[in-house]
């Protein structure tokens, strides 16, 4: 039974942020998760507040903070600091991000031929931002045989004015598909496989040459080229530089259906930083329950082969996610249950769960469901009391956010993860340091 100062449950952005923040303060951290998810599913950008009414993310934070019950009401002031913090970690891990809270939110094209509002993007996607100059073209460039990216369909969709909400857009959108060395006859190609090939310098050189040749044959000059987000995984920065150098138009990556290569780069950078600080990461088993001593959680118990795996801990951060992540479970009788501690869930009544359109611009009613906390992220019981001294809630499990509609999930994850870890690091640990134990 190992022991920790802080246990974090959940390996998404909130969990990673909390774990890394606690480890930076010198805490012994265990991060437990039942599997990979949010990072490997998402587009890899940092969405802070992508709402139509806001000009910048900073405006958006203000507007969301004014919404009743939104976590930004008490976390909004922390976003700038959290953003700077994560960007330095990501840059150190080879995943540079561009844009900030004052960068105008812009519509960037997506790989299903739509657009989304963004301001803070990985370097590989950043060329999608910035206003389109008059006459500037966009070429959507696919990889022959790769079924997660359909250049013809994407280009056809992006040629429609309404996709750009009537605003600034490319003068023309064309498409091309390129056979990359050794891939054209492949079935079941996935993004990660192509990304790994880009890591190989010899293959990369040939691939860039093939891309350049195909793009050179497209009439016109300059402009930008949208590529699937497959430009290397471990060597992404090098690959990106080489692709920029070698292509006749400014390249940017379009995030794809999972597995998300940009999200994996983000995960890898944060995990590596956590391990360097002595953090422990155990992925693969569900945390089943906790042990308590009155108002304190003293241990976290997860499944293991034939028995359980118990980590004694001084504090706990729950970053288990919302309905998609499994932090909230919908019961057949129309109740939402918080999966670990059975915390009261703030949610609309069951007869309001169903929406005609899951992606209605007004948002889905269930999006706001979650756990209500005080400003210190302590879960609040139904009677308004605070049942736990050393438990904090972070990420999309927090009530009051609509992160599909408002694109605020990453901002909430970062700020709540940071705050949770800081407050817990200030709580005296529930046990003494083992004599003679050294951290490796």
């Amino acid at each position: 039974m190992p022991s920790a100062d802080v246990v974090v449950i959940g390996a998404g952005l909130a969990g990673l942020t909390a774990a890394l923040t606690a480890a930076e303060s010198g805490a012994r951290v265990h991060l437990l998760a039942k599997g990979h998810a949010a990072t490997h599913w998402g587009p890899g950008g940092i969405d802070v507040a992508g709402i139509p009414a806001a000009r910048t993310a900073r405006d958006g934070i203000g507007l969301l903070a004014a919404q009743p019950g939104h976590p930004y009401a008490f976390l909004g002031d922390d976003v700038a600091e959290a953003l700077e913090w994560i960007r330095s970690h990501l840059a150190a891990g080879g995943a540079e991000y561009l844009g900030d809270l004052d960068t105008p939110l812009q519509l960037v094209p997506t790989s299903i031929g739509g657009t989304r509002r963004a301001a803070i993007l990985p370097a590989g996607q950043a060329a999608a931002m910035g206003p389109w100059a008059s006459g500037e073209r966009l070429i959507v460039c696919g990889v022959a045989g790769f079924k997660d990216f359909w250049p013809e369909a994407i280009a056809a969709s992006l040629s429609r004015e309404r996709i750009w909400e009537g605003g600034n857009r490319p003068a023309s959108v064309t498409h091309v598909s390129v056979a990359l060395p050794g891939l054209a006859s492949r079935h079941n190609l996935n993004a990660l496989e192509i990304a790994r090939r880009f890591d190989d310098p010899a293959w990369r050189a040939k691939a860039i040459e093939a891309l350049a040749r195909a793009l050179g044959a497209v009439p016109g000059s300059g402009g930008r080229v949208a590529l699937p987000a497959v430009l290397g995984i471990r060597e992404h920065a090098t690959v990106l530089a080489a692709v920029r150098e070698g292509l006749p138009a400014a390249p940017f990556e379009m995030p794809l259906v999972p597995p998300s290569v940009p999200g994996m780069r983000l995960y890898a950078a944060l995990r590596a930083a956590l391990l360097r600080l002595g953090g422990r990461v155990v992925i693969g088993e569900m945390v089943e329950r906790v042990e308590r001593d009155g108002r304190r959680v003293t241990a976290v118990v997860s499944g293991a082969a034939a028995r359980t795996f118990t980590v004694r801990t001084g504090a706990l951060v729950i970053a288990t996610g919302g309905i998609a992540g499994g932090g909230l479970v919908a019961e057949r009788d129309g109740r939402l249950r918080e999966a670990l501690l059975g915390l009261p869930v703030e949610a609309p009544p069951a007869d309001e769960w169903l929406a005609v359109d899951a992606f209605d611009p007004a948002g889905h009613p269930l999006e706001k469901a979650g756990i209500r906390t005080d400003a210190d992220l302590r879960p609040v019981a139904a009677d308004g009391s605070l049942p736990f001294d050393n438990v904090r809630v972070a990420g999309s499990l927090l009530a009051g956010q609509r992160n599909v509609r408002d694109r605020c999930g990453d901002g909430v994850a970062l700020t709540s993860g940071r705050r949770a870890a800081r407050l817990l690091s200030a709580v005296p640990a529930g046990h003494a340091e083992e004599p003679g134990s050294e951290r490796p």
Partner: protein
Amino acid sequence: MTIAELITEASERAVGYSSDECLKCNVCVTVCPVARVTDLFPGPKYVGPQAQRFRTGRAQPVQIKGIAIAPSPDVTVDWCSGCGWCTTACPAGVKIAEMNSQSRARMKAGKRPKLRDWGLGQTDLVGSLGVLFSPITNRVLFNGPIRTVMEWTVGIHRDAPFPKFGKRTLQSTWKRRQKRRGTMAVPGPDRAVVYFHGCSANYYEQHVADALVEILRRNGLETIIPEQVCCGLPMISNALYGDARNKAHKNIDVLAGYARQGYRIIGTSTSCTHTIKAEYREMLDIHDDDATLVANATWDICEFLLDLHERGRLNTRFGRLDEDLPYHAPCQLRSHGIGLPAMELFALVPGLRAADMDHDCCGIAGTYGMKKEKYPIGMAVGAPLFDKIRASGASEAACDSETCRWQIEKATGTRTRHPIEILLQAYRVGDVAGGTESSTLAPVGT
């Protein structure tokens, strides 16, 4: 259909029907070491939950309206190494690796197994014969031309790592020792543990057993070594489920007697202990009370020592080991779900700079990397690990699983030891430093 068949089918559902939880998110594909290096394997999602929907659950094709529905729609499942990373990473709880193993067994059921696959599964038979004729077998297995012929005829790669057979089995050594000592009262479960040594310590690596016995003694515990057979994992891996069940039942029969008295069963091979803990029930469908009793009593040695430590009962008089120690966590250890207990124990040794190599798989995956057609895949899977270990410049490395140790040693030339051998070394340095009398047992190592 008999009741037994019905029960078997129902329990297969636990694994097989978990495909219903699959979201098609591809997370499993991102962690698959085999798909990382070869196009031959399309990845765990395709051969696992995706193909599962087309499987009949039976060994033979089923005729439905005149159409034969094949038992497995995708023969590429045979390229799965069974490392289990996919199951670990899946956020939805799909038992992907287990599904692959079962469908491979179904695919091969009713067909005569390849001599090679059958032979790699028979670790007891090969081990006994190998030890019996060890002067010859060791010469043969380390002879280049003979290995080349073996590759052509049997299909075991000429460069695949092989251990040296011991001069006698651990079982016979232990019996002799007991005889010399004369009959002694067997200590109770608070003073002794039962050792499941597995094939490696029995036939090849007695020094690991010696290290275990001494470490336990230094912690006030005697070792009991009952008669036992191979855990059955090599048979599971080679699609020989029937043989594996026979082995499992034999072991459960012996071990349950001890477990019932409250003894803990300790193993030095993470793959054997995982087989007993999880696969007897999950993969082989042995669901009686004894199987559960034995599973619950079984511990990996490092897990056990760390548990002693957490309860304040571990002897921590470790001497200083001023060295860099690259450590590889075997895939089977991940499936235990217990973190990296060896790393926690290394942290108790003053001066020891243990570093988790943080690599998915060494490539051997039991017997996978020994096979002619899979050897290059295994070596490519392990290549980054080998590079890291070589680059560390360390004189030795550590790993809990025997086949991984052989693979790493062969590929890197770096001596690779079980974590408890390192801990024992630290105890002995502590003896010298602390002036305590050194142990009188045989020295650790060959």
